[in-house]
Amino acid sequence: MALPTIAFWILAAFTAVSTLFTVLTRNVVHSALGLAASLIGAAALFILFGAQFVGLAQILIYVGAVVILFMFGIMLTGTAVRPVVDNDQRPAAALVALAVFLVLAAGIVSSFGTKKVRFQVAFPTVQLGHQLFTTWVLPFEAVSILLLAALVGAIVLARRD
């Protein structure tokens, strides 16, 4: 077995275990930490397949900003020190998760069949940048408007205190 394949299986296992930990634990902060770990695993998988910019962007934004936002929210609302907030819907949730998994797996298998991913050349960031500012410049500017909308929305909501 080639080294990248071994690395893939290790990282995939790590990501799957952290995600399971995220949904199965009863402590909210542990859940957030598990989410961060599984996102780092996903970022490592991106890097393994050559998309190093996307992988590092995932760490920088998702792990470094979004999950920090979640943790701030958790720390600010005291859900971490209250008694466990849980309900009885775990079996139903498990069924739904299984159904989603089957749908996604069916979709992936039917579109890709048994084709294997070959570890090719690492995707050059220069090409990504070039594409972003020539072919996809309008979605790029739309992203800035979206960010502005999110910003203004958060400020408007926050001012009600």
Binding site: L3, N27, V29, H30, L33, A36, Q52, F53, L56, A57, I59, L60, V63, G64, A65, I68, M71, F72, M75, A80, A122, P124, T125
Partner: protein
């Protein structure tokens, strides 16, 4: 990837790791001696000649301290928070180039652990993860003051991360690459400090704030919140936090040298090729670490709202404004002199942070007696 690559990786990692630990011991000792000298006292001088073994003595002492595990602390996160803090601090150093290539036979070995193509982004990503160690440590201690200290500390770190990210963009504009080795090589004609003075100043201020160092150390000052997020930590757990903090200082200094001061490039007599570069690199990094100590000994602590004001209302707008200016000068082929001039002006604006606004009054002896 053959076995020789693996051997080279292992040798690089082990050598680097040992050197970093040694460097940490020296940096801690040097800080105490330098700040002591600035405060007209001696500093450690008992453990070994000139107190050189003080750091080792402190490390050994921490091994013999009891493990205080607060009763209300989280059983899983509390012990692993120091490791979460230490790992990104050391990993950020992998992209720092110590010197030029070492050529053995027909193998060219770059003198950095990993010459990643997007190295600068990797460095910033590790800085992002460093916030986790702080936030988790404060929360998992199970006590209110570490929690407040951790939340304040994390909010400070994330505010200055934006400033740091914005400040390195103009350097990338001129270098044309995100790889740290590429950025150093792009400075062969002139170091980037010439054209990018405001970027450098913003990077330095943001770097000092990222490390929670004075004058931005309100969240961990003794008079404020005991020790902030690491109040409830004792022994080796505290040692890991301590190491992570000083490792951040060294890494930020090293990246400052790489981005703005030419990395390993020194004046011409290039004998003992890679070693000459390494010595120059270490010397320049040492100068920056000294700057960290100097700043700590000189400036009063910033209040928290002043700290956030500087981050959001001062550094980010200037950083955002400087990027199009740099880009415009480059793309329109305007002479770099214009950029240097504009840089000096903006640099003075940034430095106005630290300049006093009013001349302090000098009272004569009678005035002092009557007004006191």
């Amino acid at each position: 990837m053959d076995w020789l690559d693996v051997v080279i990786i292992l040798v690089k990692v082990v050598v680097c790791f040992l050197l970093l630990n040694l460097l940490l011991a020296v940096v801690v000792w040097a800080e105490r001696k330098v700040i002591a000298d600035m405060q007209s006292r001696i500093g450690p001088n008992r453990a070994g000649p000139y107190g050189l073994l003080q750091s080792i003595a402190d490390g050994l002492k921490l091994f013999t301290k009891e493990d205080i595990f607060p009763l209300s602390a989280d059983r899983i996160v509390y012990p692993i928070a120091p490791i979460i803090s230490a790992v990104p601090a050391f990993l950020a150093f992998t992209v720092v180039p110590f010197g030029n290539m070492l050529s053995i036979g027909h193998r060219h070995i770059t003198l950095q652990i990993a010459d990643i193509n997007v190295g600068l982004l990797f460095f910033l990503a590790m800085g992002s993860i460093a916030v986790y160690g702080v936030a988790l440590a404060g929360w998992s201690s199970g006590s209110k003051y570490p929690l407040i200290g951790a939340v304040r500390s994390s909010a400070q770190m994330i505010s200055y991360e934006i400033a740091m990210g914005l400040s390195v963009i103009p350097v990338v504009l001129y270098a044309g690459t995100l790889s740290t080795r590429g950025i150093v090589l792009a400075q062969q004609h002139m170091w980037f400090i010439g054209a990018q003075i405001p970027s450098f100043l913003i990077y330095l201020i943001a770097g000092v704030a990222e490390c929670n160092r004075a004058p931005f150390d309100l969240p961990e000052a003794e008079t404020e919140l005991v020790a902030g997020f690491h109040t409830e930590y004792s022994g080796i757990k505290f040692m890991l936090f301590f190491m992570a903090e000083y490792m951040h200082i060294v890494t930020i200094s090293a990246i400052a040298v790489t981005l703005f001061f030419g990395g390993w490039m020194g004046p011409h007599p290039n004998f003992l090729v890679p070693l000459w570069g390494v010595l120059w690199f270490l010397g320049k990094t040492a100068a920056f670490v000294f700057l960290f100590y100097w700043v700590r000994a000189s400036f009063p602590r910033l209040r928290y709202d002043q700290l956030m004001n500087v981050g959001w209302k001062f550094l980010i707008p200037i950083g955002m404004a400087w990027i199009p200016i740099s880009a415009a000068v480059h793309i329109f082929d305007i002479r770099r002199v214009v950029l240097v001039g504009a840089g000096v002006i903006v640099g003075i604006i940034v430095l106005s942070l630290v300049l006093p606004t009013k001349k302090p009054e000098v009272l004569t002896e009678e005035e002092a007696k009557t007004t006191a």
